[in-house]
Amino acid sequence: MKLEILSLLEKNSRMTDAEMATILAADAGAVASAVHELEADGVIRGYNALIDWEKFGQEMVTAYIEVRVTPQRGQGFDKVAERIYQFPQVQACNLMSGGFDLFVVVEGRTMKEVALFVAEKLAPIDSVLSTATHFVLRKYKDRGVLFGQQHKDEREAVVL
């Protein structure tokens, strides 16, 4: 049941325990306690809204930054990663396989703000060898949801 609860909440975190219980043909109390456990165990890390800032009229830029670093003795990449992800501007930070090491997602209000962050905070870190910054120009789909035009039901009224 937990798996199903997670898949429902992942799509719509505002769904109530009672509604989930109905949808999953489960006991409402059991759903509530399962959700509680998932929160307590840290499986559910938070609930947030997926916002189309552009639509709201708020300027917001996202940059994907490839970072190459020298791993440190005894600590591998963890220590550098930690130095990087502490910055509130950093939305995500992942260790990658392939041509670079860390993939960092940074959000800011303007390109300049993000570029300055990279130049002044990220690049100067001791073990950082190089950075390559890619700005998002248009968001088509994020976390499974299409951005841009709203989906419209175009089914024709037929006779069946």
Binding site: L8, N12, E19, T22, I23, L24, A25, D153, R155, A157, V158, V159, L160
Partner: protein, 389 residues
């Protein structure tokens, strides 16, 4: 010349689908929620669409063989065997049609004509009666009961049979009730049917949209196999309504004649759709499971919602319809649906569109988003409060 005098009487006299008038109303409304459309809201799985596109890019734009491409017919047989343990020969017993719709029409056309009776358990899909009337045969409705969860009972069948009965037209899982028939239900029908000269046309287009138990078919009974015409297709299972592709399976003696009509009247089913359908059967299973899981969630929300606002309904185990009893509102089917649409902008279809015995009921489909269902139920609740005073 008066053109109207040139027309065949039985075509002119067949009424158009009763659903139409509501759709005309809703088209002019803003913020209306339709629980009226009987087709998947999902788009065809991407890999299936992609296969169709690929076939076009490759220039596969010609006719296929009349009965449908060999590969598709083989895949259909493989699928029917592995999913439902039904065995058909791809060469002599399968025909790829323009939707299940064409299959129903073909089967009726080769079997019945003036003087013959076609038993049609109701409420049922709107085309059964119309297609029967076009052949000149007489549709004989068998009114099913809500207390039997709209399953056909052997007594009901027996009582409707006359010396002129030639065909029984069954559709389970059912549109509009969502009713299903278990193997045990069929066992009791087989007793009635096996020694009579009656052919069963079994419309199993919703076989995959099943939320409880295992799909059963009359064709799986050895004594019924050769007297059953199995109709199915891709529209509902794979969300492929617009591709217009389905199929029919039956004994070669019947098939030969159906093929002949198909050959002259249709040539072959759309080739692009045939390529896409092969992909659907080969690799579409995870997509079907995903859609069925989602329908099931919506189904539970909808059934629960109707019951909470005082509209009784039995729990439907198939298709994507709920068929609540709306009599508590103090209105008949037509009034209920009309007022619900005008006052709350929610479209349901009156049960009477699916046969006279649908009076007192209305059909709602959950082939729409959870958000829509939630909002529609809220509005229906408000409407019911008003009705109950």
């Amino acid at each position: 010349m008066n053109l109207k005098d040139m027309l065949r009487r039985n075509v002119v006299d067949t009424p158009p689908s009763g659903i139409r008038k509501y759709f005309d109303l809703i088209n002019e409304m803003k913020d209306a929620i339709s629980l009226g459309i009987g087709e998947p809201d999902f788009e065809t799985p991407w890999s299936v669409r992609e296969e169709g596109i690929w076939s076009l890019e490759k220039g596969k734009t010609h006719y296929s063989s009349n009965a449908g491409s060999v590969e598709l017919r083989q895949e259909i047989c493989r699928y029917l065997k592995s999913r439902f343990s039904l065995q058909y020969d791809p060469v002599h017993e399968v025909l790829v049609t323009v939707g299940g719709s064409e299959a129903i029409d073909l089967a009726l056309r080769v079997l019945v004509g003036p003087g013959d009776e076609v038993l049609i358990p109701e409420p049922c899909y709107v085309a059964y009666k119309g297609c029967t009337l076009f052949t000149g045969a007489t549709p004989v409705p068998i009114p099913l009961k809500a207390e039997n969860r709209f399953r056909l009972q052997p007594e009901e069948l027996l009582a409707a049979i006359t010396p002129r009965t030639k065909v029984l037209l069954l559709g389970y899982p059912n549109n509009p009730t969502g009713a299903t028939m278990d193997r045990e239900d069929y066992v009791r029908l087989v007793d009635v049917l096996k020694d009579r000269d009656i052919i069963v046309i079994s419309d199993e287009i919703y076989a995959e949209l099943l939320y409880q138990g295992k799909h059963a078919s009359l064709a799986e009974f050895p004594e019924m196999r050769d007297r059953t015409v199995l109709v199915s297709g891709f529209s509902k299972t794979f969300a492929m309504t617009g591709w217009r592709i389905g199929y029919v399976c039956c004994h070669p003696d019947l098939m030969e004649q159906m093929k002949k009509i198909h050959q002259f009247a249709i040539m072959c089913s759309p080739t692009t759709a045939q390529y896409a359908a092969v992909e659907a059967l080969k690799n579409g299973r995870p997509d079907v499971e995903r859609m069925v899981a989602e329908y099931n969630r919506r189904r539970r929300l909808m059934v629960d919602g109707f019951r909470k606002v005082g509209l009784d309904c039995f729990e439907p185990y198939g298709a994507f319809y709920v068929f609540p009893d709306v009599r508590k509102s103090g209105l008949n089917s037509d009034q209920f649906c009309e007022r619900l649409l005008l006052e709350e902008k929610v479209l349901m279809v009156p049960g009477t569109a699916f046969g006279d015995c649908g009076e007192g009921f209305a059909r709602a489909t959950y082939a729409t988003s959870l958000e829509n269902i939630r909002e529609a139920l809220f509005r229906i609740g408000r409407f019911m409060e008003k009705m109950l005073g």
